[in-house]
Symmetry: C2
Amino acid sequence: MLTDEQQETWFAYMRVVLRLQYEMNRQLQTDSGLSLADYDVLNALADSPGARLQLTDLATRIAWERSRLSHHLKRMSGRGLVERTPSESDRRATDAVLTDAGLSALRAATPGHAALVRRMFFDGLDPAALPVLRAALEAVHEQVLATGTLPRPGQRQHRLPGLQTGG
Amino acid sequence: MLTDEQQETWFAYMRVVLRLQYEMNRQLQTDSGLSLADYDVLNALADSPGARLQLTDLATRIAWERSRLSHHLKRMSGRGLVERTPSESDRRATDAVLTDAGLSALRAATPGHAALVRRMFFDGLDPAALPVLRAALEAVHEQVLATGTLPRPGQRQHRLPGLQTGG
DNA sequence: CCGGAATACATGACATGTCACGTTCCTTGC
DNA sequence: GCAAGGAACGTGACATGTCATGTATTCCGG
């Protein structure tokens, strides 16, 4: 099914993923009181226009089940990191919005997180390999999008409020 | 902290990890009734001499908290996929052993899993990039081992039973 | 060998994630 | 415009993961 070299590459990938996830989780938790899950949410929001994202879009973007996100946002909003506001474009929908406290937490956590990423991921890497690695990861990403079960992120159409032909 | 190219590479990595994890989980769950976590455990055991591994070693190998593994093995043994036997080399220790049913489940799940890996990971990849990708992942792995908080897998020393100088 | 420190694991309480389902609203075809 | 189907989200029940702690065993310095 896979060639030997593919197998070895895959095993190397899985080993990296498992350990890195473990290390990132611990570093964030102990240094910032954020879980990696929290960080992913905050990061996705901070990177979005208006620091705001509809739940389904956010879930798609970070590849979470929507109900997981719903539960998690309830907890995060209890901690003041995000707010949940009814969407203006769709009354069924909810937007998650980054709060000031959430942004501060993200900013406080980022240097330590980035330091870990640099140390564990890039410091051991031949810089000459970087462009190839990047291209490979982007190709894989494209393939996952193309053949996966989730929609592409950021491509869902929302009705824009204020554009209805007036009554 | 990170160069632009490093950042983009890192983001690509995270996007791939998040989506692939989601897709693997779903594929395994629906096609085989195994979670990705189950699969990682079964796989690690099947790959070990005697299909047996002491808990701490197994936890290190798949980068889990030991208590997570303890709970999970209890559930998996309830399903007949593994057994827990007292270790012969250390009476504090427990070995996880793959059962016949566990091996069967692993064998049944593997083709579908491998197909997904091939389709999502390797089919989109320029074969010429494979050696570089593999080397890069192995370099990162080495770096994670070198600077991480977990011991290297498979390097812990166990007292070998039957080698005591007799009484 | 003996006592204190460290290690291996289990467990209970609690945090987090999944699944099935209900409610509300939107959309589509007439 | 209206009914039927679908989409967005929340929730409760349950599966899973984490943390703090307890018990048994081993290790190590003297």
